[in-house]
Amino acid sequence: MENEIVKNILIIVLELDPNISMEEVDSDNIALWDSMRMLSIVAALENEFGLFIDASDAVNLTSYNNIIKFLENHPEME
């Protein structure tokens, strides 16, 4: 379920093709993935999952896989 939410957030914020393979979604590969979009991604994740993401954690959320790993390890996620 979380995977689907993260996928949809990235598709919306980064204006991605819905059929894109999420393995390829990385700030290095996606031209639109700048600091402003990063802020929007973080805000969307906070809102959808009801948690706060510190700036020191946010800098590492640079790919779909990193975001999933972060959520899996977040203490506020059941």
Binding site: I12, L39, V42, A43, A44, E46, L51, A55
Partner: protein, 549 residues
């Protein structure tokens, strides 16, 4: 309605042909993460938002030297916008701060706000940085800012809307958890979106103006004094008096005989008097029909009415029939009262009062005509009744469990077949001669209502006593109990030993609505016709039979 990011995005992505409203969102922090939520909230309210934002951390400069002064401004303020020394991002100042300086600063800021002729102010009462090493004085400064803004008409939002972590990390003071709620508050400030203050409060009587049911308990036993169970009703009446003195109109609407309904006022039992009402309607017509008539007669639009009742069925009926009327449940527990009164204050939020306001009730009374209330039955509640998950427990009473059932017959006046009391001795004699006492208890999703209906009937279908508590009117229980009796007795007709009394109008109406024939034996109800006409009622109830059927 609170939206998630994905829900808001979906709303924004969908095409619409709505008009556009423009405003300036004036706040000191970063607002980017609000954007999709503001747009979605606007669309939900029927327009697209086109708003300008200020560059980050320029609010102070902006209010000193504004642009777009003719455009509506929605200010979202934090304490440090008014007292910059309280800004977390600056760290604690070593400079000594005194009260005079704070007052000057607050007045100065508010003075600058007044240059914006069209403005709304939202205030998030977040904690400030400590301004002094004296806890009391620091706290006083926070309250001083809030009080000054409130006096200028600011709406105070929840302190939870502020996130210190987000503010320090990103310069955005808005908590990610509440972006939807914050955006709703902003969008609600756009001109044309703010709900108009209400003009008239329409109040129910039983268990709202007083504790108790005047038709059952009598005027002497209802409670609305400043002690005991009646205390909250005393407070409510005193608030209605205050509302009336400041220009609101108060009307009463109750399902009752008029003479019974006004008894507590005429006996001097109440703080709020009969003369304080602009109109008082008591009938057995639906409340929506009564409110509709009131609206027409006083020439007041339905959206300027707020209706207060303790019965969720009445609330539901009015909501369905008159969606423009705002309906509010009277608090069941005293702990819920502050939120209830706060809601009323928000709806009757008068900024100024004139002599005409103080006399408004009398002015309306002088042009008040007799109100004709339509006999329309009100909104169809079948769907709502279905959702109540009602269970009717049928108890065939015997010598061990008849007392409550008998008490109901002797205490109930309104839905009562004939008003004839029956003593225990008489009852036991009747049981010996073959009469049966059935008691019915109701539970639903709101809880256990206890025993609410009693019937004494012979195996030939002669009903000598039939009483039902007024607390459970409109639920079709009277129909259901007769359907159940019909099933168990296997007779062709019921014979009601009916008698019209001064107080049993609800039963008279029930008889009037049913296909009855009046004969020598009594009022007769053809069971086959009755069952055919009311079969759908069975679907509203789960039935449990206790003991012998």
């Amino acid at each position: 309605m609170s939206l998630s990011f994905l829900e808001a995005s979906k709303i924004v992505a969908a095409d619409n042909e709505l008009g556009t409203e423009s405003f300036v969102l004036a706040t000191s922090g970063q607002t980017e993460k609000l954007e999709v939520f503001i747009k979605a909230a606007s669309i939900q309210r029927g327009f697209n938002s086109d708003y300008k934002i200020l560059p980050y951390n320029t609010l102070q400069q902006y209010v000193a030297s504004p642009s777009f002064i003719e455009t509506h401004h929605v200010f979202v303020l934090f304490p440090w916008d008014v007292i910059p020394e309280g800004d977390w991002r600056s760290g604690v100042t070593l400079r000594e701060i005194n009260e005079k300086e704070i007052s000057l600063g607050v007045n100065n800021f508010i003075g600058k706000l007044k240059q914006f002729s069209s403005r709304s102010v939202l205030y998030v009462p977040a904690s400030m940085l400590p301004l002094t090493c004296n806890l009391g004085i620091s706290h006083f400064f926070e309250l001083h800012v809030q009080g000054a803004l409130l006096k200028e008409g600011a709406e105070v939002l929840s302190a939870d809307f502020f996130s210190l972590s987000s503010y320090l990390s990103y310069g955005s003071p808005f908590s990610g958890k509440y972006l939807s709620q914050i955006s709703d508050a902003i969008v609600a400030c756009v001109p044309g979106q703010h709900p108009m203050p209400k003009k008239i409060l329409v109040t129910d009587f039983d268990n709202v103006m007083w504790r108790g049911v005047v038709g059952e308990d009598g005027a002497d036993d209802i409670q609305c004094s400043n002690e005991g169970a009646g205390y909250i009703h005393f407070i409510y009446q005193s608030y209605l008096l205050k509302l009336k003195s400041e220009g609101a109109l108060i009307a009463g609407v109750t399902r009752n005989d008029f003479d019974v309904a006004v008894l507590p006022f005429r006996q001097g039992n109440t703080l709020f008097k009969e003369r304080d009402f602009v109109s008082l309607l008591a009938s057995y017509n639906s409340k929506s029909a009564q409110i509709q008539a009131l609206s027409h007669n006083l020439n007041i639009t339905l959206d300027s009415i707020i209706f207060v009742d303790d019965n969720p069925l009445e609330i539901e009926e009015v909501t369905r029939a008159l969606p423009a009327v705002e309906c509010l449940m009277f608090p069941e527990k005293n702990e819920d009262a502050p939120a209830f009164f706060l809601h009323l204050q928000q709806r009757f939020n008068f900024s100024r009062m004139t002599d005409e306001d103080k006399q408004r009730t009398e002015l309306y009374k002088t042009r008040f005509k007799a109100t004709e209330v339509s006999s329309a039955s009100g909104a169809d509640l079948s769907g709502y009744l279905q959702s109540l998950d009602m269970t009717l427990k049928v108890i065939k009473c015997d010598a061990s469990n008849y007392k409550r059932a008998l008490q109901l017959i002797n205490k109930t006046n309104q839905f009562n077949l004939n008003g004839i009391k029956i003593s225990e001795e008489q009852f036991l004699k009747e049981v010996n001669s073959g009469m049966m006492l059935y008691s019915y208890a109701l539970t639903d999703k709101f809880g256990d209502h206890g025993q609410i209906c009693s019937i004494i009937v012979s195996d030939a279908g002669v009903i000598s006593h039939f009483a039902m508590s007024c607390r459970v009117f409109q639920r079709k229980i009277e129909y259901m109990v007769l359907l159940l009796l019909a099933e168990s007795l296997c007779v062709e007709k019921f014979i009601f030993l009916f008698n019209k009394t001064e107080k049993n109008m609800p039963f008279q109406l029930f008889i009037g609505e049913s296909e009855v024939a009046v004969g020598e034996e009594g009022v007769m109800l053809d069971i086959r016709l009755f069952v055919n006409a009311n079969q759908a009622v069975s679907g509203l109830f789960n039935v449990e039979v206790v003991g012998e059927k």
